[in-house]
Amino acid sequence: MRDLLRIRDLRISFDLPEGRLEAVRGVSFRVPAGRTVALVGESGSGKSVVSQAIMGILPRTARIDAGRILFHDPVLAADRAETMIDIAALHPDSAEMRAIRGGRISIIFQEPMTSLSPVHTVGNQICEALQLHRRVSDAEGRALATEMLRLVGFPDPDKALKTYPFELSGGLRQRAMIAMALVCRPALLIADEPTTALDVTIQAQILKLIKDLQAELGMAVLIITHDLGVVANVADEVVVMYHGEVMESGALEDIFHEPKHPYLQALLRAVPRFHMKPGERLVPIREIRQRDDSAFLGKAKAHDNQGGGTLLKVEHVSKNFTIRKAGLFNNDKAGSLLAVDDVSFTVRRGECLGLVGESGCGKTTLSKMIMRALKPDSGSITYMDKESGGETDVLKLEGDDLMAFRRKIQFVFQDPFSSLNPRMTVGDILAEPLLIHGVGTAAERRQIVEELMGVVGLNRNHIRRYPHSFSGGQRQRIGIARALALHPQLVICDEPVSALDVSIQAQVLNLLKDLQRDLGLTYIFISHNLAVVDYIADRIAVMCCGRLVEVAPRAQLFRAPIHPYTKALLAAVPEPSLDQRLDLTALLQGRASEPGAWPEPFRISGESRLTMIELGEGHFVRAHENAAEELTRCYAQISSSTAATQKAEV
């Protein structure tokens, strides 16, 4: 078994408007045939640039300055004099390069939404990949494509051939993408963040699929990711990159059992994991240098949360979206989508409520209804303000009352790139809420803005910079600072860290925790990642398909999850450790998020109404009323036995 790919001292630079950027600075590593190599690093570390160089698809502004990318492929070598092909020396448009690209080396991208053509069927696209590289008749091509679709797990491959990408879910699209990449039986598959855009349960399935296919087709895989949990579950060898250089590389066991380089050690420390000790803090690679003397923290009287009590009460809220069936002449036939179904919960003063669920489960719709950006069809939302002493019916607010209410609840967006207006300086962005609510004079506003920047650990000299000059984490901090500007009581964070690298994620999570403590904030923290929620939340609500399925204090939920969906979610989070690999059988073969596939008494089908059943200790689960007694008994049993084992461990 020889090395399939060997990269020697590769150097790549970019010619950017802001100057020359050395993205890859002398990187060397190997990919042995039939094995999996993981390329790990933060965004901007140059890992994707390396993969683009291997594929010969570098952007036009990039240049390979030095180094070699040696590709040794037994199939290609058979009809060539030399056995090694130096990809770095090939012209990207040459016939040789085109034969390698897609034929011998394939790539799958992060976004399954945009990497498939929306106007061609899946079968069409797979056959095209095939016909570019091999001489096959249409019938043969279709047969091979069907075979490939079956291999990647489409239940009905013949039908799948004729579907268009928009008819498929994200997970199936990524499977179709993999089928397209593998149909020519490449020697090397490059997977560039293949699961980052997917939900955890789907992620686990796709990772398993890649492993299975690798065993079956005998190809090598170069997986590019920032998620050490993924690495621990799939890789044989690991290369850790930082700022265009390799920091550490070695076999999987070496990397996880004996991390030596401070960067890798820091990366491992920054990942939130289950079973962290109470009060244990994540250690980010770059601590936020928050200014202690920040006047904002001193002056702002922290909200008084003494005595707890309820801050926000959501009762029986439902929301339907009507979908217009676009016909040429009749657009009156409307379907509807139940986005949020009969959701009730309360948020206590000063706590952090974690809202967990997969994409499309209605978390964001729910938060928008609380923010009054959407109107629910039915139900009520009540806000209880201690300072003014009254209960506010949020849904009935108008005019000045609504303006006043907006100051109390603020929102942190998921995407740090589109949530900041690119044409305003940071100073203007942070001053905008103050301006809209007419706070202070220009000088006072400037003072507040500077303090805000200090609070989130940004350099005050950057006040005149534009958002495009900041990294994702810094932008997210700007978003947080903007949310804090009006001294809100409740901050809704909609997936605030899911677009960020692990290292930055720890930084932002710590910042949110500190701010909650210092300013007496209440959070609703929305995420699809249970490990993250476990780190920050006090109570957790699990949502699936528009319904709350389980609500419990953090410790209870992790100690004794009752609902099958919660269990599947817990099992699907990849941990950055070799001792706890993913167990795929717990994922119900990918049907964890179908309410119809849950076992009794949790199954939702037809007209049977389920209710939230209290099991004790503030633990609620959605199930059939008849099963209440049995579940309560069962819960008491599990919960006491796990408590006992935990005590024994201590």
């Binding site: 920091m247 076999a251 609510h437 910079r465 495009h468």
Partner: protein
């Protein structure tokens, strides 16, 4: 990192980079980056625009042309209306610098005129003895600068008792070059005025359609489709036929600008609508709404600034259409009418194919028209490429 080939199945060495490690390294900025990051949108656009050489030179060319429009009385060697009945349909005089191997600066050879009785046509022959050097910053034909101030200073004029018809003369013996220079004033400004009208209409109508959606949007789109379905030239003809013949030349000028402006807005309105639709979905717009900003503030502070650059680019691209529209109308004799002089009016003389065959220089206004339209297109392309610096 080890460079030797590993043997089959050999375990990979555990390599650790022993270079210095600074986790804050990635946050450091070079002065160049700092400068770029503090630059406003317009500055970055300017930097990107400058890299587009052709667009930059087109811009310079257009600036020069528009500068000459402002002072066309001074730039033109003759008055718009001066006739030289001795030189009717005179061909262009070639500009020379050397006479019998000797440098004497720019000059022309005077004409010897004779009548060709066979074709009943005057024949002009340059006479090498009549050396007529051009004069610069000289007193020549009197004119009223901007119709107000009496003056007679010209950039250059013919020699005393000489001629300088560099582009030839027309059937009344008027200097074509001067007519083209004067014509630019009307042709180029009518483009700007028409586009200004269509700009206002396009932004208001398209903006309303995009922001409010629903019925307003549907109504706008349908009207755009209807307006777009009319064949252009007959529509132009009908509309300009409606302008009363008794109107003053200025009235006709205004009327034509308005007609062109009214027919140009749909394209712009569509562009504005599409842009607003996509921007309305951006998170920063939602953020502003959640902060409690009013629709006026959201449009004015967040949406409009995000696509002014796009607007400028599309406006630049629609100016040449307006210029061409005016030229076409006037050429057909249904737009501006003499004594107003635009390129279309000048070209109006060149409608007869036999005239064009014998006196081809009557087609010369096409050259500046072509250059200006081309330059506007290059400029617009460059602006469009530079328009969104955050892609």
């Amino acid at each position: 990192m080890s460079d030797r080939d590993l043997l089959p199945g050999e375990r990979l060495d555990h390599y650790v980079n022993d270079g210095p490690f600074d986790p804050y390294e990635v946050e450091k900025l070079t002065p160049q980056q700092e400068r770029y990051y503090r630059a406003s949108e317009w500055r970055i656009m300017w930097w990107r625009f400058c890299r587009h050489r052709v667009a930059l030179w087109s811009g310079v060319f257009l600036l020069l042309v528009y500068a000459s429009v402002v002072i066309c009385e001074f730039v033109a060697p003759y008055n718009l209306h001066s006739r030289d009945i001795q030189h009717i349909f005179a061909p262009p005089q070639t500009l020379h610098f050397f006479h019998e191997g000797e440098f004497i600066g720019p000059f022309v050879y005077g004409f010897d005129t004779e009548m060709d009785m066979e074709n009943l046509q005057r024949v002009y022959k340059p006479n090498p003895d009549k050396v007529q050097p051009l004069r610069f910053f000289c007193r020549g034909d009197p004119y009223k600068f901007w119709g107000q101030v009496d003056a007679d200073l010209h950039l250059f004029c013919p020699a005393e008792r000489g001629t300088a018809f560099l582009f030839g003369t027309d059937r009344l013996g008027r200097d074509m070059m001067s007519r083209i220079i004067y014509g630019a004033r009307i042709s180029l400004t009518i483009g700007l005025i028409a586009v200004a009208i269509s700009f206002v209409l396009g932004v208001v109508i398209g903006g309303a359609a995009g922001y409010f959606g629903g019925f307003i949007d549907a109504l706008t789109l349908r009207s755009i489709e209807i307006i777009r379905s009319f064949p252009e030239i007959p529509l132009f003809m009908t509309l300009s036929a409606l302008l009363p013949v008794t109107w003053s030349p200025i009235g006709v000028f205004a009327g034509i600008s308005i007609i062109i402006g009214f027919l140009e807005w749909p394209g712009l309105a569509r562009a504005v609508r599409a842009k607003i639709l996509s921007l309305r979905e951006e998170d920063f717009t939602t953020a502003a709404q959640l902060m409690g900003a009013s629709p006026a503030r959201i449009i004015g502070r967040h949406l409009l600034p995000s696509f002014t650059s796009h607007l400028i680019a599309s406006v630049t691209l629609s100016i040449p259409t307006a210029i061409l529209g005016e030229t076409a109308l006037s050429y057909l004799g249904i737009g501006l009418r003499a004594p107003v002089t635009s390129w279309g009016v000048v070209l109006n003389e060149a409608q007869d194919i036999t005239v064009v065959a014998v006196f081809p220089w009557l087609l010369l206004p096409v050259v500046p028209l072509f250059l200006v339209v081309l330059a506007f297109n290059f400029l617009g392309d460059g602006l469009r490429d530079a328009a969104d610096p955050y892609k």
